[in-house]
Each structure stands twice: as C-alpha cells, then as structure tokens.
C-alpha cells in the first residue's frame, strides 16, 4: 500500500483547459449515467498533470476529484484507472516510451528497439524512469500497427519501422527537445510499400501527379 501513497500530491484541481474539455465530455452522457465519463476524465487529468508537471500521470487526489465530479465512489475510479495500462498511477518521465514486443514487432526486431531505448536512456528495466527524469520505458502488448513493426509509441505518437540506430536517434532528438515527425522512419507512406508503389502501376501512369507525390515522401 505504501506504493500508492508515495509521491502523491496533496492537492489537485482541474485547470481551465481541462474544465473546458470536461464540459464537452459530460454533455455526451445522460446525467444519471455520467459515471461513463470516468475514462475520458482520467485522460483529461493525466494530460493536465503532463502540462503542469511534465509527468503525465494520475494521482489519487485527481481520481478523487473525478469521483466527486461524476458522483461515484472513489474506488470505482481507482478500479478503472488501475485496470487500463494507459493510465499511469505513478509519476513517469517527460516522455513515455512504450515499446511493443508482441509477435510481429518481436519478429521484426523489437529486441533491438528495446536495447536501443535502454542504451540511449540509461534505463535498465521496463517500468523504470531514466536518471534525468526524461524517459520512462514500458513494455506494451500489440499496438495494432503490425504492418509497420517494430513500433515505439512515445506518449500519443507512433514511431514505426524502427531499428536500433534510428531509435537512438529518435531518443536523442527528444532529449534535445525536438519533436520528430511521427510515422514510418523509413521511406514509405503510412503502411504503403517501401520505396513507393509496387502494384497497380498502370493506374500510376494515368495519374502521374499523385504517383510523383507519393514517391517524394
């Protein structure tokens, strides 16, 4: 139980941005069923913590505020928040590195990605935060982007088709405060073939403009 009570702030109030979001969220539910707003409100709280403290997590006081707002027992919010992996119930680093190690990513080299993450951040095990407080490394199950395996999700963004060196470069860029563009890190558009279109080439001839556009990506 001491885990829960460690590092907990004593106070949490929704800020203006959050309040605006909450208003938008709560109109979606009938008043007597607003308990359904638990999930979106937890996201709102987590994002606010990220904005305010640089660590996107949900402290117990925030869950209590949510319970108050939704008029449900606090334990119901605790249950939801601890059930879903997306909610951090402990403080995390500025960037949350979520490495997928499920079959597709693993076959395509997620071990290299994980090793690169560990090397670049100095983190030894999953769940740890780097000494500089910038990175927390987590192991996650399938992120549903197997066509672009292996994947590293950084906060809300997918970085795809990674290998060791590109992962390290990505982390270095993040460390410098840059925000590299999300998506494939190799020459492809989304899940399209690497190096451009491989089939339906006749169609490409008919519309050179779009084919050109694709190749340039």
């Amino acid at each position: 139980m001491s885990d829960v009570n460690r590092e907990q702030p004593g106070h949490f109030e929704f800020d203006e941005i959050s309040e605006a979001e909450i208003t938008k969220i709560l109109v979606k539910y009938p008043p007597e069923r607003k308990a359904s707003g638990s999930l979106p409100l937890l996201y709102v709280a987590q994002k606010q913590m990220g904005r305010q403290t640089g660590s996107a997590w949900v402290p117990v006081v925030a869950m209590d505020r949510i319970a108050e707002r939704l008029e449900i027992a606090p334990i119901r919010v605790y249950e939801v928040a601890t059930f879903y992996f997306m909610f951090n119930t402990k403080p995390i680093g500025r960037y949350h590195l979520q490495a997928c190690t499920t079959t597709s990513c693993w076959l395509r080299g997620s071990d290299d990605v994980v090793a690169a993450c560990k090397k670049a951040t100095g983190v030894k095990h999953f769940g740890e935060t780097s000494a500089d407080g910038l990175f927390t490394l987590s192991e996650v199950e399938c992120l549903g982007a197997c066509a672009n395996a292996p994947i590293l999700q950084v906060d809300d963004d997918y970085y795809e088709d990674l290998d060791g060196p590109r992962t390290e470069a990505l982390i270095e860029a993040l460390r410098r405060g840059e925000k590299p563009e999300s998506g494939p890190t190799i020459d492809r558009l989304g899940s399209a073939p690497q190096g451009g279109r491989k089939v339906l080439l006749e169609a490409a001839h008919e519309d050179p403009a779009s084919a050109q556009g694709e190749r340039s990506c």
Partner: protein
C-alpha cells in the same frame, strides 16, 4: 412458472430464475464461490458449471436464466471434469496454509476441494503473492488466499452501502483492496468475514483463537440494538469466542452488526463476579448473604414511595418482570425502563413498536425518518432500507428525513428540516413531501428515540400520528407508523408495564434525591452522577460501569450470553435465547437474584423456576401495557432541533464499553481522525 428438468427431475421455478436455483429446487447441490443469494450475480468463479442439453459447452448456472423445458445435467463426466479444471486453476495460487488459516473447518474452498480438488499440482511456475491490506480493527486480511470472487466488493457496494472495496488492476495483478489505506467505515463490516468463501477475510480480534469444530454453539438473540438479530453464540471452555448471525428473513436476513459481533471480548472484562457492599465510602467484597442483609437493613422502614427502580438497555424480560413484581410488592410506584427519558404513547401496543414489522420495509414505497439515525441505531435495519431503496430503482422509494442521519445514511434522501418545526409544516400539508407520502400506497414513518426523548415528546408523537393518519400510513392492513427503539429491553419493559405507576416518578424524578433507594438493573446510560448523594444505590448487573461505580451494594448478574432469556425486539416480536456459558464467579442469573432477595425482604415472588416465571410473562400480543404516569404535560412544541442521544456507534452499552475491540473502533472512527484523513 417455468418447467425445467434437472437430472431427470422435473421442477417448476419462477420465470427469471437461474439454472442454479432450479438445481437447488431439485435438491441438487451446486458448488459455488462467487454466487451469494443476497448479492448480485457476478459469475466469475466458474465453479457452478452445469451441462445444459443442446448447449455447446458447460454453462455457469448462477447467471444462466432458465427457459421452458430446459434440461440441466449436474452430474455428468463433462461437469465433473469442468469443475475439477476450475478448481485446479483456483488452487494454483492458493496457499496450502489451511493448518494456520482461521477459515479452516468452515472454508468453502476446503470443502469443495474434497470433491473436486486434485491431489497433486501440475503447476511448476512462479506463484503469485499479494500484500495484505489493512482494513481496520475488525477484518484481518490474508490476500494471497483470495480467489477474487468479489463477494466482499459486492457486499460493501450493495448491502453495506459503503463502496470502499474494489478490484484494482487486472489479470494476474488483480487485487481486492481499498487502494488508499483506510479502515472500512461500515457498521456491517463483520459480515465480510462470513461471506468470504476462503480465509482471505477473517476476524482480526478472533484470529488464532479457536477452531469452528471446537465450539459449543448456542442460539441466542443479539442485544446491542433493539432489532433482536438472531445470533449463534460460539463458546469454547466456558468462554464466548465469537458470535455469528443466524438466518432470519423477517429480522436480520443473514447479517449482524459489528457491535453485536465484536463486543464479545467485552464479556470477559470489567465483570462483576462477586457481591460488593460500600462500607465507609469504600466498596468491600462480601458474600451474597451479607449483601442481602445490607439491602434488607437499609430497606427496613423505607416507604415504597421512596424506593425506585430503573431497568437498563440489556435486560431480558424475566428479570424485568421479577424486578417489577418485587417493586410493586414493596409498594413502589417508581418504575422506569426508559433510561433516556423517552415517552411513548402507551394507549395501544402498536404505538410503541415498529408496527409494520421490519419486513414491512420491503413493501413500503415512501419513507419519512423522524429523529432517527438508522445506520447507527440499527445497522442491519438500515441495510434493509438500503435494499428497498436499491430495488425500487431511481426515485422509486423517496425518503424524507427530519433530524440528522449522519454523513452517509447509505441511501439518498431529502432533508426536510432538523426539528419539530419541519414536522409541523409536513403535518400542515405545506410541504411537497406530504404529497409524496399521500400518493404512496404504503407510506412508512420511522420515529427514532431522538424525537421521543424530549420534553415535548407527547406533542411530537401526536403530530406524527396526525401526519400518519393524514397520509394513510395507518389504514386497514397497513400500519406504517413505526418506532425504532435502540434498547433491546425497551419493548419488553413497556409490555411488562415497567413505567411509573400512579404517583410514581420517572428516571428524572428519581434523580437528585427524588427517592431514597434506587435499584438499578443494568442501568448505566442515564445521568448517574445526578443521583442524590444520600440515595442508597443497589446496582444489579454484569459490568463495572457507571452504575456500579456509584453503587452502595453491587449484585453481580449475568450477561445476555450467560442466561436463558426472553427478548422483545423493536417490532414487538418475542424471541427466546439460550444460555451459552455460565456467569463468572459468584454472579447469578438476574431473576434468581431477585427471587432470592424477595424472600429476604419478606415479599417472596410467586415463582421458583424459570418455567413458573415464564408462565407469568405477558408479552407480545398478551401484553397489558399500563399508562405511564408523570408524562410531561407542560405543552407546547419545542422547535429546537433533534439531537443525537449517543456519541458515536461503538460504545453505547456496558459490554461494548468494556470491549477493547470496540474501543479501538471508536478511536479509529472518531470524527477528528476522519477529518484528518480527508
């Protein structure tokens, strides 16, 4: 009704029943862990698997509704194999610590493992261990034993109305916890111990004390509130080890309040185990003979009008009647069983009992609570109100409250005011809630002691009657005008006419030198300090509490576990309990003490055996209540708000005040710690 065939036996069950209920109707026992008939269906333990003909795979019978002509098979190889497989999974992470587990001997998992468990384990991987949780002074946890049936979560949420337990995380990491460390705030938390099918939740005060099969079990009636909860006293070697509820659907269903369950350690402490007489201002141990002589000497020549008697809250009907008969024989009109000074309308018996019956709550469709705090006055009754509130659905059971029901009564209510003024408005019809009561088919009014232990109780009650009649709460076939008592002895005392007789004094009148001799039968909850300094006080009871401290003669009596007794609960139901253990030392059953001293005083009571005495008891329907004299007639409604009569829930009687467990509970749940925790 739906016709179902269970193992070839045709049974008729109500539509909407589950397959499990159909199997039970056919006399088939279905193993289960998560299913509990008084809780919602969770269907997560999978132990109750049965085969339904034409279903592709075994189904969990607890959550599977019956259909016409359904054929259920409960004892096929498929079913047996499925249950064995479920059991094997349950046992993977369950420790083999039965020899040191308090649940041993009454453990569902242990019992069912005899039928479905495998002798060997095929599991060689790492086992999971869960840290124990601190749920307060009453419930001890060994969470590695938990099989996650979630009965406790459902009990807290549904029955107790204090949703504090939950299942956090998921899969392998799922735990039953409060998440933030806190003591359970429910007054019904002891029932978690009973509903837990394994040894995850056990009694903290009773840990490692005794095994269930060593206990001598005696049926009895709980006395810490006026509900008359049916209990079973379990004793070993002359010592009460624990108290558990018995099922009685008309009263307590199968729950018991924490005070009734955990006060047991108070039965061993601060006991009066020999007679004492005050000599030169100091209590000296004496023999029974000497104590009787001391009383006889002091009583000699005192006129009956200068003798008074007060009956406490934990007295059984037998001793109340014996004391009444003795006092009347001595010529005393000064009798009172109303320590708190409450006044009742004694013109009709239905006017001082919970007239609709406790089960009447299930039928009521609107409720007005006046000057009562049901959650603390009678937690089990409050669970019934909550059950009704939940079953009626949103807005289906409107509840209005005049007075103070605490922070969380476990049901939603409309506060109508804090005193008689609001009641007057309601009676006058100038309040919307009057309309709600009027439109209800079976409106119910619960009047607590806060409303009756006042100077203007007569006026308050008259208003209640007026309101009840105006809204149709008292009609042919339904009497919803209910008194919620807090003292287990109160209705018996009223039935037996233990109230001031013509010219007699009430408790207040007896104080400050109103009488020369006071006989306290377990009476500790009135202002003992206000007894006149010259008054000679005889305390007959079982605990060294306020009354005994002031006494000039102490006659050691028996606690409720130590005597056979007749009790009348708040709804006027007469119940008998049996003797579980013997009183300590020289203490005796109370009616015997009174019978013995009556002989010394030359007014021998006309009964020698308990059977004789019970032949004289006129309780329940046979009761001939007498009108209490000396009721306040000063008139006029006092508009001051109703105030709680007791501070807190846990320390309200001599037994609980002597109980270290109850003292610890009172400390943990003291108001200031609650504020600090927030």
């Amino acid at each position: 009704m739906v016709n179902v065939i269970v193992d070839g036996i045709p049974v008729d069950v109500p539509a909407g029943s589950s397959a499990l209920q159909a199997c039970e109707a056919a006399g088939k026992e279905i193993p289960r862990f998560c299913f509990h008939e008084r809780l919602s269906v969770a269907g997560n333990c999978r132990m109750c698997l049965v085969q339904v003909v034409r279903a592709p795979k075994p189904v969990a019978s607890c959550g599977f509704p019956v259909a016409e002509g359904m054929q259920i098979l409960t004892d096929t190889e498929v079913v047996r194999k499925a249950r064995r497989a479920v059991m094997e999974f349950l046992l993977i992470n369950h420790p083999l610590d039965c020899p040191i587990c308090d649940q041993g001997g009454e453990c569902d998992l242990q019992d069912q493992a005899y039928g479905y468990g495998s002798g060997i384990s095929r599991y060689h991987e790492e086992k999971r261990a869960v840290t124990d949780k601190n749920l307060g002074p009453l419930v001890k946890t060994v969470m590695t034993r938990c099989i996650q049936c979630t009965r406790c979560v459902r009990f807290c949420t549904e029955v107790a109305g204090t949703p504090e337990l939950g299942a956090v995380s998921r899969g392998e990491n799922m735990e039953i916890t409060t998440y933030v460390e806190k003591a359970l705030t429910s007054e019904l938390s002891g029932n978690l111990i009973d509903i837990c099918p394994v040894g995850a939740l056990t009694s903290r005060p009773g840990a490692f004390q005794a095994r269930p099969w060593e206990m001598k079990k005696t049926d009895a009636i709980d006395v810490v509130d006026a509900l008359g909860t049916n209990i079973q006293i379990q004793a070993r070697g002359g010592e009460v080890k624990r108290i558990v509820p018995r099922v009685n659907d008309d009263i307590n269903e199968e729950w018991l309040s924490d005070k009734g369950r955990f006060s047991v350690d108070g039965l061993k402490r601060r006991r009066l185990d020999r007679p004492w007489v005050r000599v030169h201002g100091k209590l000296q141990p004496v023999s029974w003979q000497d104590a009787f002589v001391a009383i006889a000497r002091r009583l000699d020549g005192v006129p009956g009008s200068r003798i008074g008697a007060i009956v406490g809250d934990l007295c059984e009907a037998e001793s109340i009647m014996a004391l009444r008969d003795l006092m009347l024989a001595l010529g005393s009109p000064n009798l009172d069983c109303r320590q708190d000074g409450a006044q009742y309308d004694m013109s009709d018996r239905s006017r001082y009992v919970f007239a609709s019956g406790i089960a009447g709550i299930d039928e009521a469709d609107a409720l007005l609570v006046i000057g009562a705090d049901p959650r603390h006055d009678a937690p089990v009754l409050n669970a019934r109100i909550r059950k009704r509130y939940l079953s009626a659905g949103r807005g289906g059971f409107p509840i209005g409250v005049i007075g103070n029901v605490g922070i969380n009564p476990t049901w939603a209510y409309e506060s109508l005011g804090d005193g008689p003024g609001a009641l007057r408005d309601l009676t006058g019809g100038s309040h919307a809630f009057t309309e709600i009561l009027k439109t209800a088919k079976k409106p119910m009014i619960i009047i607590g002691q806060e409303a009756l232990a006042r100077e203007d109780a007569t006026e308050v009650f008259a208003l209640c009657v007026q309101l009840a009649e105006a809204v149709g709460a008292v009609v042919e076939g339904w009497n919803g005008l209910n008194i919620l008592h807090t003292a287990a002895s109160r209705v018996a005392g009223l039935d037996l006419g233990f109230v001031p007789r013509p010219g007699g004094r009430s408790v207040r009148g007896m104080l400050s030198g109103g009488v020369d001799i006071m006989w306290l039968l377990g009476a500790d909850e009135f202002p003992v300090h206000a007894i006149g300094p010259e008054t000679f006080v005889i305390y007959q009871g079982h605990h060294g509490d306020a009354g005994a401290a002031r006494a000039d003669v102490i006659l050691p009596g028996a606690a409720y576990t130590e005597k056979p007794g007749t009790w009348v609960n708040t709804e006027g139901r007469v119940q008998q309990s049996f003797q579980a253990v013997f009183p300590p030392g020289e203490a005796r059953e109370d009616w015997r003490i009174l019978r013995a001293i009556s002989e010394v005083l030359g007014h021998t009571l006309p009964y020698d055996t308990l059977e004789d005495l019970r032949g004289h008891l006129r309780l329940g329907r046979d009761a001939v209540p007498v009108r209490a004299e000396g009721a306040n007639t000063r008139g006029g409604l006092d508009t001051r708000p109703f105030v709680p009569l007791t501070q807190g829930y846990y320390l309200t009687n001599p037994i609980s005040r002597a109980s270290p467990t109850m003292i610890e509970c009172a400390r943990v749940h003291a108001p200031h710690t609650a504020i600090a925790a927030e």
